[in-house]
Structures are given as C-alpha cells and as structure tokens.
Symmetry: C2
Subunit: 334 residues, 2 copies
C-alpha cells in the first residue's frame, strides 16, 4: 500500500481520461466520481476498477462522446437513452435531471436505457443528498446470482441505493442484493478466511461460509435468501419496464456487461419539510438507532453512511491507501 492524496489521485485520473479522449468537462466529472469512491474507501468501484473501466471503452462496449437523449417526458417522469455512453457520466446526468425535476415540482423520476455500469451506486445517492434530495436509485446487472431454488444465475445482484440529506453527514445506503459480492468472496478466499456468515451453497448443496466453495458453485445467496431473490427480480422488472430497456436476461445475451437499465427517484427535501423539521426528524430516527445499547461495549452503532463519513475524513487528512501495483499501472497510463 502507498498513500496518495485525494487531489493527486483526482489529478492523475483526470489526465488519463483526457488522454483517453474525454472532454475537459467530462474528465473533471468522471475523475471526481472515481476519486470520491476511493476516498470513501470503495476502492473496488473506485481506483481499482479504473483500468477495467478504460478497457470497456477501448473494447468498444462503452461509447465515448455519446450523450443521453430524452425519449419520453410525462410530468415528473422522464426516460432517457444513454446511448451506451460512460456509465458514471450517464448516471450522474440522470440523477441530476431527477434532482432538477424534484426541485421543480417536489419529486422527479428518470429512467435510463442503454446505460453502462455506473461503478459505485452510492455516488449518485451522495450526489442527490448533496443537492438536498431524498433519493432512491436502482440498476440491473448481468445474470450473476441464482434466484431462490435455482441452480444457475437467472437474475442479477441488482444494487439499490437510498439517500437522505443530513447536516451531520448524509445517510446513504448502497447495497447489492447478493449477501456477499464476488469481489468480497475472492478477497476472503485469497486471505484464506471464512465468510462471517454462510454466503451460498457448496457442491453438496449445503449452506457454507467457505468462499472458495461458493466461487466454484457460483450459487451465492441472495441477501436474506428468498427475500433478496424476490427483490432482485422486482428491481429488474422495475428498471426494465420504466426504461423500456434491457433486462438482466437480455444483458446476459451480450458478450459483456453493458446496456444496463437504471432508475433514479428524487424528492426535494425542502418541499417535504422545513429545514428545521427535516433535521429534527432525521435526528429523531438516527439518535434512536445509535443510542440503543451496543453489542460490544464502547463500539458505536453504525448506520448507512456513518462509516463512509469517518473514512472520508481520515483519508482526506492522512491520504488514501492505494495498492502499489494498481497505482503503478495507473501512472503508466499517463
């Protein structure tokens, strides 16, 4: 691990993007999304994924220079075609449009067809919260998870994000609908560790906490077994129908994971409650959560976003730990 400042990371990513053909404006935004994810500790969808992201462009799956086009406008609802442009730019654009619609008339919803992988979904939750919006967003993925009772991947882990602005640090939930991600299981396997809970079935069809066994069967558990299984199917239906775009089934027919369907929903917090009332309600809920007795004495009770906030503050002050090989690979692209 080496330590890189946020500004340095942002600068390096931006230069690489310019070199890759992004416009100045696109480079500033796209590097910030990757740098922010890394600053928050989500390296797997930040700096570590950056070379993979670039490769989707050179491989021709992601279209540089593509801009979203509006296909449908119905009051507070709009549908846009992402034209297979860079995922983070498309998603940022759509969340921004949902924010604009919400500022206009209380709420807004934008569905995106032909998106690309948006990297860290939480990025768009933080974006909405920064803009004073209560938000939800959803994406589908390629088939990567068997539904409950199935032997093979027939649905996606279809992440969902929920965000609420707060003066004490926004509250942002960013979760996929598998109990453990492939990335996490690979990390545990590499470290020779067991998962903290059963994460899937082994070859004998028994629940197991052995990540290697699950990586072999590919029968990972949906979040909460049958519950996450049901949600993943419904999230796929929601994003596919609202965007009239590609379902997980259709994405599975492609040679790579692109052309995803996404939905962004925003409510303008200021039109829902006065600033004072909003913060009182948020504090009421978060205080009730965090003031319960903790499992481990002295260990604070966390809520979505609380750990991210702490990590961000630490990394901003002390720099961001980044894998040396990853950093070397990046700087060679300069």
């Amino acid at each position: 691990m080496i330590t890189i400042t946020y500004d340095k990371l942002n600068e390096v990513l931006k230069e690489i993007l310019v070199k890759a053909g992004f416009t100045a404006e696109e480079s500033v935004l796209c590097s910030k999304i990757f740098a922010d994810s890394t600053l928050d500790g989500y390296h797997s969808h930040g700096v570590n994924r950056f070379p993979v992201f670039l490769k989707t462009i050179t491989d021709g799956y992601v279209q540089l220079g593509a801009h979203p086009e509006r296909q449908l406008a119905l009051g507070s609802f709009e549908r846009w075609d992402g034209k297979l442009g860079p995922g983070p730019l498309n998603a940022h654009f759509c969340m921004n449009r949902a924010i604009e619609l919400a500022k206009e008339s209380g709420m807004g919803c934008v569905a995106l067809q032909n998106g690309s992988h948006w990297m860290r979904g939480g990025s768009y939750g933080w974006q909405a919260a920064e803009a004073g919006c209560i938000a939800m967003c959803f994406t589908n993925t390629m088939p990567n998870m068997p539904s409950w009772g199935a032997m093979e991947a027939n649905t996606g882990n279809n992440p969902l994000i929920m965000a609420v602005p707060s003066d004490d640090g926004h509250i942002v939930l960013d979760m996929s609908l598998s109990q453990f991600s492939y990335g996490k299981m690979e990390k545990f396997a590499m470290d020779g560790k067991k998962l903290p809970f059963d994460g899937g079935f082994n070859a004998a069809g028994e629940p197991t906490d052995d990540p290697k066994a699950i990586l072999e069967t590919k029968r990972l558990f949906p979040t909460g077994y049958w519950k996450g299984s049901g949600m993943s199917i419904l999230v796929d239906l929601l994003v596919t129908l609202l965007s009239s775009g590609k379902s997980t089934a259709k994405i599975g027919e492609l040679e790579a994971e692109y052309g995803l369907s996404q939905v962004f929903v925003c409510f303008d917090a200021k039109q829902m409650n006065s600033d004072k009332r909003h913060q009182e309600l948020v504090d009421e809920i978060i205080n009730f959560v965090t003031m319960a007795p903790s499992e481990k004495e002295g260990k604070p009770i966390e809520y979505p976003g609380s750990q991210t906030k702490k990590r961000r503050e630490t990394y901003l002050k002390e720099g961001i730990p980044i894998n040396e090989t990853v950093w070397k690979e990046l700087t060679e692209l300069l």
Copy 2:
C-alpha cells in the same frame, strides 16, 4: 381446520364490520381486503388478525369515521393525513390516489401520516397491479428489531412491497425487513421445529436457528444481517420525511402500534410501454427466471406472487382452510 368459501368469509366479515359501525361502503371494502388476504393464504394478516383489528377500534387507537385529508399537493406528489382511521381503508385510499395520479401524468406518489396498521401490505401491491400500475409501497412499524450491532429494538421491520402487472398473474413482492417474523418464529416454536436458517442471536450472542432462543432475546436478524438493517433505517427515514409523520422512534413512545407513516408510488404501465411491449418484457424476465435449472428436479422455480396465485386458485375452488377457534370467535361477533 374447517373450510369456508370465500363468499361466506367475505359476507361474515362484512356483517361484523357493519355491526361495529363501519358504513356499508367501508364494510364492503374492508371485508374484501381481509377476505382476499385470507384467500391468498395470508391468514396471519387476514382472518386471524381480524379480532385484533376490531380491538384496535374499541380500544380507541383506530378512529372509525375518520377520513384522510390532503395536506400537500406538489404535481405528482401528495401528502395525506390518515387521521388514525382504519389502516386498510387509509392504505387502499392512498394507493388509489397514487394510481389516479399515475394515470394522469405517468407517475404518482402519495405519503400518508397518521395511518394505522395496513395489515397485509401485499393487498396494495395487488390493488395497483390490478389497476395496471407498477408500484412500490413502504410502511414503518413500532420498534421491533435491533439494527445490526444493537442489543435492543431500535428500528422496525418496515415492510416494503413491489408490484408489476402481468397477464399471467401479477408479480407482487411483499416482505418485511426481518429475516423471520415474530409470527413465523412463534409458529416454529409451537411446532417444536428449528428455523430453516439462523434467524437471530441466542442469549450467548451466537447465531441460532432455535426460534425459542430468539423469542427470548428478541434479537432477531434483519433480512440479510447488516443489509436489511440499513434498509429498515432508510425506509423509516423515507416514509417519515415524505409524510412528515411519526417515525419508528415516535411510534415506540405510544402505548400501542398506531399512527404509522406510509408511502405509495405508482407508474402507469400503459404510459411506460405499449401493452404488447410491457408483456414481452415481463415474460422475458419471468421466463429467464423460471427456466433456470431447479434445485429440486421437477420443482418449479417460484417468483414473487407465483405461489399466491396457485393458493388463490385452489382456495377459490375448494374453500379456504380456517382455524376452528378463529372461526368460532368470529361468528360469535355476528
């Protein structure tokens, strides 16, 4: 168990409601909601809960004759005050209003403050799907679940519902955010059975599949551990902020579970896609799910709503099995 026809059940419930002071119109709707839930096999939120529902009225927590009042209208978003009226009537009213808003301009969202327990949340998912809408709805509850890392209930199991209309039977997900409900754990404990998976912590703080141990500690698992924990907090934030109503924390200060906050979101399927395209997309997703190899040869792969549909068809034809004591208690109210 005795067997009662759907029509008979509906008739008996309706008569009891009339006697309890419901108007003719309210009785027809409210009895149908309870009878439909029972017909679908959700006795715990149908006929078995009916006496408890009536008691919330005689106890004065639920206000007969209360009608929702609009508090805020912002384009496709409306907020209503439920005035603590009967939960199923309030929820049905709000979903209906969300459907109307969606028919007008593509999407609609209704937030309800001072609702009461809506019984089976799936009722409102089916209602929306019957009306040709893609829908989501959410409610909070009293504190009944410890968040991840907490020793005592500091959040609710805050159910969420997602629904999609389909010619082959609507697709309706109805789930709470605890891995197992108290009702289910009590049933397993009574039958002397273990849960199919660990459902909470025992007194030693270890995960256990012993329902009795969890009923004692009250430390039940959120759906998918930390994931359902995060979702429950965000659902509470969402419904409380949008309705400007009571949070789980505030509901916990009351002497009973009432005054809940709920949110109903609808999209008019016809404005999203042509009927043909809608059904093609739904079939594409459901076929991909159900055509995967099954864990148990010959056993069909289920999806949210598929089992309900089969149960409904059976019970309509053969009558609904109902606990004799429950039925006796009901008929004594006539």
